[in-house]
Amino acid sequence: MTTYADLSLFEDVDGLIGAAVFEGSGTAPVMQYNSANARIDLAKVGSLANNVMINARDTARKTGSGHCGMIHVHATEAHILVESLGRDTNANLVVLLDKQCNLGLARSALKRYIS
């Protein structure tokens, strides 16, 4: 069984709603971190975002664009970042942020997490 690093490094990211790791097409996260102010069902939201990543990965493969490492969805009320945790693991990290978030800090935390 794969083990993943603690998600608490995201707690310093301004605007964080939550972060979660999903494996494969999993509907439930294998680990998650909710911001204290978050009032969302992270398992549901994360699994929807994870599904978008699976779709994007399939598209990248079919178009010959290579492995899809990351997707970023800009919505009117939130940013949704999904980062692949490795070509072989088929696991994804989903990070949800509000629109006033520090996106640069979030991306930097994401890179630190996968390294």
Partner: protein, 134 residues
């Protein structure tokens, strides 16, 4: 300025591979491609458009609002898909309201911030060209 000329302003972006405009259902309306591009823009556009639709449905279901843009960061290519929807329904087309999707393909190592700014500017200029009758 014609649609083609508006799209051609994106050719100045570093790593430009191609850009295309689609209906929300994935029908190609217009597009240009760099001659040395390794991407089949029509196929990539249809698939990337589908990812945006999936993301828009997911964003609505998760309460994140309307999905306006998705960036797909793959090994060889960055795909940026932007939605312009003047209508009140997030997923449908409405008479008198422009609803188009724009797919921009770039090299992997590209300034995404600049590309997002440019795609936002160009799609706004295309609104009048693709507005259906009321």
């Amino acid at each position: 300025m014609s649609v083609q000329e508006k799209l051609e302003t994106l050719k100045d972006l570093d790593g430009f591979k191609g850009v295309a405009v689609f209906t929300p259902r994935g029908e190609l309306l217009a597009g240009i491609q760099s001659p040395d591009s390794d991407v089949n823009l029509k196929d990539a556009g249809v698939l990337a458009n589908n990812v945006l639709l999936n993301a828009q449905k997911a964003a609505l279901e998760m309460g994140a609002g309307r999905g306006q843009l998705i960036q797909i960061d793959a090994q060889k290519t960055q795909l940026i898909v932007r939605c312009l929807n003047e209508g009140s329904h997030p997923l449908e087309c409405e008479p008198g309201h422009t609803h188009i999707h724009m797919v921009l393909a770039l090299d992997h190592a590209t300034s995404v911030g600049m590309a997002e700014r440019s795609i936002n500017q160009v799609i706004a200029k295309l609104a009048d060209d693709f507005r259906p009758p009321a």
